[in-house]
Symmetry: C2
């Protein structure tokens, strides 16, 4: 498979960044081709706006959806976004590697979706969403480090079930575009874990990665 | 009340921006003091990182949580963040005005939380979260424009109940810091609505705003 690994952590020596390296190693060893997009290192601008387009259809009133659709039809996205879209288009698998900040992606990754998952290119609710989504055939998976414990993120725990918390990302974002969504790998309380626990996470993640072909999806446009 | 109105839309003439103006008018008429933070107009940088701090506690390894706590204790945030924190600290009410992009805030607002809702300043999970949260006494409310219809965002609809979708924001973000969370105002399919429907939204929003003292909270550290 061609894998696009989207990575978002400000510290290259963090555990999250280490998990990114592990993924590259394991996936390449299995014969997959991995493209890494390190959003912090590449200084990605996450703020969607008129600068997404080479030319505006209506310079007097910025309607993001209309401009995205217009740009999709007329190949009018700026070079930076075209490159992202092209890599994504060629990928069979989108691997999202990030620390959980305020229940979701860091802003730099949120903005990658705002800008790259554009109307027309990534979805068209009239006939291309969910089971008929434009990215049908692609798979997606999150690899997450988070601050709280597994207990805190369980049903009845202080934050509730983390799978419910991630549902907007898994269902209304990834699956919405037609992707088959695999169960996430989550390293809980990584920043407070001792070396032995971190090794355990690494070993578990390696197994998770080796099984990506057989993991039972959370959501899929195909029968699951 | 002192109200901080956080606004995030790239088009000043959009319906979302209009709802922001309506809020200012109605709230000021009721005697509230409104401070507007227009994230797009002020060119807010949503990317959290080492540049959040005047000086780093450990320049060899960037640990965001540790640096935030250190900065909180030593008054070490950069001027821009100090100003945001000070406005928030003085506010009784946080009004979030935004279009729903990929199930959540636009990245520019997500990053406001990543950077301003800092460890130490906004929460301390040891003893200051949820019912004992540091922002206990403050209220928060979202005003959202979204692309899909009310039916699509209902239980059994294609996206499911929008209140569930917003739960990470309402519960694990706003209520987590101790805020009392009021029900959101949502303008569905605003971009495809005719003038009459938009007027209806405006009238409904005015009533919503006039009732902010009596609206039944979704979450609150006080008995509800």
């Amino acid at each position: 498979m061609k894998i696009l690994l989207l990575h978002s952590h400000p510290e290259p020596k963090s555990f999250s960044s280490y998990l990114k390296d592990i993924a590259v190693e394991i996936l390449q060893n299995q014969g997959h081709q991995v493209t890494i997009k390190d959003l912090y290192r590449s200084n990605f601008n996450p703020v969607g706006g008129p600068w997404d387009f080479e030319e505006l259809n209506d310079p007097t009133y910025f309607n993001y959806l209309k401009e995205q659709m217009n740009a999709y039809k007329n190949n009018n996205f700026v070079k930076e976004l075209k490159a992202e879209m092209s890599t994504l288009e060629n990928a069979d698998f989108l691997l999202l590697n990030f620390p959980l900040w305020w229940t979701s992606f860091p802003a730099i990754m949120k903005g990658w979706f705002d800008r790259v998952f554009a109307f027309g290119f990534a979805y068209n609710p009239k006939d291309k969403s969910y089971n008929t989504g434009m990215f049908k055939g692609k798979k997606a998976m999150c690899c997450i480090t988070c601050g709280a414990s597994k207990e805190a993120y369980s049903e009845g725990g202080v934050h509730g079930d983390i799978i419910k918390l991630l549902d907007p990302i898994h269902h209304q974002l990834l699956y919405y575009t037609g992707m088959t969504v695999l169960p996430p790998f989550i390293a809980y309380r990584a920043h407070l874990s001792d070396q032995a626990t971190l090794y355990k996470f690494i070993e578990e993640y390696k197994i998770h990665l080796k099984n990506i072909d057989t993991l039972k999806p959370i959501y899929s446009p195909f029968q699951i």
